[in-house]
Amino acid sequence: MKPRHFLAIIIIPLGLIMAAIPQNTTHPYKLTPAELLEHVNSGMQYFTPDETADMIINKDPSLLLIDVRGEDEYEKFHLPGAINIPLSALLDEQWKDYLNQDIRFNLFYSNSTVNANQAWMLTRQLGYENNYVLQGGLNYWVETIVNPTPPESTSPNEEIAKYDFRKGAGMALGGGAAVRLSGSGQTAPALPKIAPRPKKKRTEGGC
């Protein structure tokens, strides 16, 4: 048998296989289920309301709040400086540079943590870093920052200090005793400028 025939016997069937199967266009998810479970269990995706309030008051430029609720809910009330990326639009091309970046902390929030966690899980699986979830969502935010419960007078000092901080933060953020749920005069902030993350380079080569 000539080498040409031997080659043909091997290579033509391989070519037929390649021609017959659908092209692989899948982009594999980055994490295995076990790894994801570990992240979820560690709770490392959460920012507490206190941390968040502190960052908002200090106008920390590294924080970007992302409201993942629908547009109408966002119009009614949103945290200061938050931008709106509804969960349904999360994978739109226009948001990719906001979610896949290494400059800011993106903090997802929704009314509870369900939708925010879904957003976090999706971005995590896509391999995006620096995305986090507001612990307890807006409901817990109202409970802790907007309407903090006064501690018992016998509480330890830390509890009282925490309460004082929360009360102050609530006032600074326009809450205080009067819970403002209708966003009077609240306008959506301009989208912050985002420098697209540099793409992974193709390895240069040549003959």
Binding site: R4, A19, A20, P28, T203
Partner: protein
């Protein structure tokens, strides 16, 4: 997983080391299959020896199939594999110059080093000519820069240009290559040379 370098699995230095080993193996195989003989190489233009055509086309087919199968198994991200960008006019002119040099000198750049390393004087002259060409190109670059960069086409692939999927193009290439091998062996029988 792959490409190994883009994904940081191996460093650039390790890459150079691996390239060094592959280079030695490549040179060894070129030499041992007779690629250091300019008469054998030039044979492809006269039809009496088409081993160059067969070897390089087999390499291309192996590479094509290998990459597509690795991509199928998610072992390599084809988006990160380097493809030479196409500058149409300079590619055509470069091809003509390279082909003319190949017919006249009997070597391509890699095989000329192969020949020089076993002490062939024509191979050394060929390398000298190559460096002369590089020198002239580099020194005269402003003169032909416009032409060199003309008709930039990005990185078109055959499958994109034809609107077919990669697998079909690969099968087509395999069939074309097999046809060419057959024609090559027919030519070898038709224009035989006793000694070269």
């Amino acid at each position: 997983m792959g490409p190994l370098i883009s994904n940081g699995i191996i460093s650039q230095n390790t890459n150079f080391f691996i390239a060094f080993l592959i280079g030695i193996a490549f040179g060894f195989i070129l030499e041992s299959s007779g690629f250091s003989s300019s008469r054998k190489l030039a044979g492809v233009f006269y039809g009496y020896d088409t081993v160059v055509l067969k070897v390089f086309f087999t390499a291309a087919l192996t590479g094509m199939l290998g990459l597509l199968f690795l991509s199928l198994f998610n072992w390599i991200d084809l988006d990160l594999v380097y493809i030479n960008p196409t500058y149409l006019y300079s590619t055509i002119v470069g091809g003509i110059i390279m082909g003319a040099g190949f017919i006249m000198g009997g070597y391509c750049p890699g095989t000329s080093f192969c020949a020089a390393s076993i002490g062939k004087i024509d191979g050394m002259f060929f390398i000298g000519g190559m460096f002369l060409g590089i020198f002239i190109f580099a020194e005269g670059y402003p003169l032909w820069e416009g032409f060199y960069k003309a008709k930039f086409m990005g990185i078109p692939t055959l499958s994109q240009a034809l609107g077919l999927k990669d697998g079909i193009v690969v099968l087509g290439m395999i069939i074309v290559a097999m046809g060419m091998f057959w024609v090559g062996e027919w030519a070898e029988a038709k224009f035989p040379r006793e000694e070269y």
